[in-house]
């Protein structure tokens, strides 16, 4: 798989996690792709933290409205039944636990659910945007990312970068598999058959428990 195929593979698997009636917030980058793979007939609404519920598909040239953009400043549309609101309501929705699922990328995830995804000191300091609020407030936090960065593990015993939130991640979905964050640590519950268990373990910087009910990654 090339990078784009890898990202699409991950996004497709994440989409299966979304349940009927869910309100979902997608981070920038790979997570945004998830919207393209929501299973047919499943009623899912997307929130954009800059101020609306009901993020729709990209507009046609004629549909573009400069006032309707997502949290990454990309032009989008709003679906029927959507609504606009301000940042205070938007983060009331997020902080108050009204978002069912958030899907975010990460630089590092620790086996206790700690996550680092907003800065590399001295190098890249974009800021946390809404990520800290999402990680604290969303009912379920899914990290969608490539398993390693330039061959280095991103799933670790402890994060070395500044944390975005402690104890926040529930599920990690990568091109290698689906990993639950449990009190016992990382548990592999689905395996991409393109990778052996040894390969996945080698790419993971913390002990990886293999679920007794391990399934093939959908």
């Amino acid at each position: 798989m090339d990078k784009q195929q890898t990202q699409e593979f991950i996004a497709r698997r994440v989409a299966l996690e979304l349940q009927d009636g869910d309100l979902v917030n997608l981070g920038i980058g790979l997570p945004t792709l998830v919207a393209n793979y929501v299973p047919e007939g499943r009623d899912v609404l997307f929130q954009s933290e800059n101020g609306f519920i009901g993020v729709g598909p990209a507009p046609t040239e004629e549909q573009i409205d400069p006032c309707i953009a997502n949290a990454g400043a990309m032009p989008v549309t709003i679906v029927p039944g959507g609504s606009f609101f301000d940042s205070a309501v938007s983060f009331g929705i997020i902080r108050g636990g009204h978002v069912d699922v958030t899907v975010l990328g990460a630089l590092q995830v620790a086996e206790n659910g700690d996550i680092a995804n907003y800065m590399i000191p001295g190098k890249m300091v974009p800021g946390m945007g809404g990520a800290m609020d999402l990680l604290n407030g969303a009912k379920k936090v899914i990290v969608a990312m490539e398993h390693t960065a330039k061959g280095n593990p991103k799933l670790l015993k402890q994060c070395t970068l500044p944390l975005t939130a402690v104890n926040a991640v529930d599920l990690i979905i990568t091109e290698m598999g689906v990993i639950e964050v449990t009190p016992e640590g990382f548990v592999l519950i689905e395996q991409n058959p393109d990778y052996t268990l040894d390969e996945i373990k080698a790419a993971t910087g913390a002990p990886l428990i293999i679920s007794a009910a391990l399934k093939q990654m959908a």
Binding site: S48, E49, N50, G51, F52, D65, P66, C67, I68, A69, A71, G72, A73, I78, F84, F85, D86, S87, A88, S90, F91, I94, R95, D114, Y118, M119, G122, M124, V125, P126, G127, M128, G129, G130, A131, M132, D133, N136, G137, P162, L163, T164, A165, V166, N167
Partner: protein, 218 residues
């Protein structure tokens, strides 16, 4: 009380060294004409409170390029390389604030609340130097109210009393900054006369708005 003011007079309300709040989210809902006029005037040593620093050629980012800020409070600066450069080279102090915390701090400043109690930022660098309050066995970070000398806001429509309405995702921080600033100036896409705005339709009541610049005449 007719609150209409000319653009030239509006920018004279901002003084060197002021703290300014500026509405908008990645240049959506930003008062671009007010910003251009301020840049032309050449105000300096400002402290900025804004969701982000926009882009080098759009939104508040143009003021970053013009080196008008000595300090910036924002949740995200990653879309503007000049902010990153000024930050890393020590030219401008940048304080990163979680987005949901930032809007609540502004609301608290405008609404007479003593602070914000949030779990967002606990266990991260955001917590450093701040008071943690325990409530019924749960920990919350105490974030202080924010206020400014001047707020520069955008609205789709204003009446001459300063009542505001919005379109799309332009509300973001524009709804509360007026309350939190000593002087608030709104660049309105359109201005209507007294009685031409239905009182049910108003999103921000005119009490939070001191001056209105008619953007349709610019």
């Amino acid at each position: 009380m007719d609150k209409l003011i000319r653009l030239e007079d509006a920018v004279n309300l901002v003084s060197d060294g002021d703290t300014v709040m500026i509405g908008g989210f990645l240049a959506v809902g930003t008062p671009e004409r007010l910003i251009d006029a301020l840049i032309a005037k050449g105000t300096k040593d400002l402290t900025l409170i804004c969701n982000d620093t926009g882009f080098v050629d759009r939104g508040v980012g143009k003021m970053v390029v013009a080196k008008m800020f000595k300090k910036i409070y924002a949740s995200h600066v990653g879309t503007n390389k000049e902010t990153g450069r000024q930050m890393l080279e020590g030219e401008t102090e940048v304080v990163l604030v979680p987005q949901g915390t930032l809007i609540e701090q502004i609301r608290a400043g405008g609404f007479g609340l003593g602070g914000v109690l949030t779990k967002t930022g606990l266990g991260t660098e955001v917590e450093k130097g701040k008071q943690v309050v325990e409530i019924d066995g749960e920990k919350f970070l105490l974030e202080k109210p924010m206020r400014a000398n001047v707020a520069l806001l955008f609205a789709e429509k204003a009446d001459v009393r300063g009542n505001l309405t919005f379109h799309g995702a332009t509300r973001n921080f524009n709804t509360y900054m007026g309350a939190a600033a000593d002087i608030s100036i709104v660049e309105a896409g359109k201005v209507v006369q007294l009685g031409e705005m239905c009182p049910d339709e108003v999103v921000v009541p005119g009490v939070f708005v001191d001056f209105v610049v008619d953007g349709s005449e610019l």
